[in-house]
Amino acid sequence: MTLDAVLIYIAGIWLLIGAIFALVGSIGLLRFTDPMTRLHAPTKVGTVGIGALLLAGMIHAFVTGDGSIHELLIMSFLFVTAPISANFIAKVHIHRRTCETPPKPLKDKTWSTLDVPEEKPKGVEVEA
């Protein structure tokens, strides 16, 4: 009985930690001005925030008797997908030049996002 109570408190503490991290992530998203720096807060702080919330959920499920391991799966999917969405957003910013243009790479010609064919000027017919 007492063990259950202690575990419930531990779950509560994790819930608080997760909420604090999620809050900090949102503050970061609002506070920074540059689109690339704004990406930093949600990718990192968000993952641990949600990780802590899921851990709380897992502890609570075990205390109330129906143990659940789905949360582990959610966590791992989240850790795999968060960098990909961040990467997509970064690529869009580079492509639309809404952020500082990155320096040239060392060996290759350019970055793959900037490696697009020159647009043909409109109204100019290509002669065969």
Binding site: V24, G25, M36, A41, K44, V45, P83, L106, S112
Partner: protein, 166 residues
Amino acid sequence: MSKVFNWLFPHPFLTLLLTVVWTLLQNNISAGMVVFGLILGVIIPRMTAVWWPDRPRGIRLLKLFNYMIVVLWDILVANIQVAWIVLTRPNSKLRPTWVIVPLDLKQPEAITVLAGTITLTPGTVSADLSSEGHSLLVHTLDTDDPDGVRDEIKNRYEARLKEIFL
């Protein structure tokens, strides 16, 4: 014998992963579900092997496990660092920069894992790959030593990944 094994398990690690994920999805471990997961784990890699021709030949599981522990710890540290920056450092004092990481890794799978790790760890987001895949573009939130960031990525993560992917 090894030919039959390679045909049946084109990707043993994927087989293992699918079995574990299926079992976790069921939310209770029973022999029937593990067997069913194993069947899926054999069929799916076999059917998709055609579309994945240059897959890595193997993965050192123990080293991968070791790497995951290191990365999980770094994610925790990274979060506290970034949270601290978010809460205490004014915008005018931030020093965001681009860092270029030259890559020694060749396999796309290994580069993907490296890029994901970079995004989840201290103050860095991987943004782009160069057109021929020889370097990685990384954005750092706040640093006064871009070379140090590059060396840390190379020594801490890339060196380990080189040993994991055969």
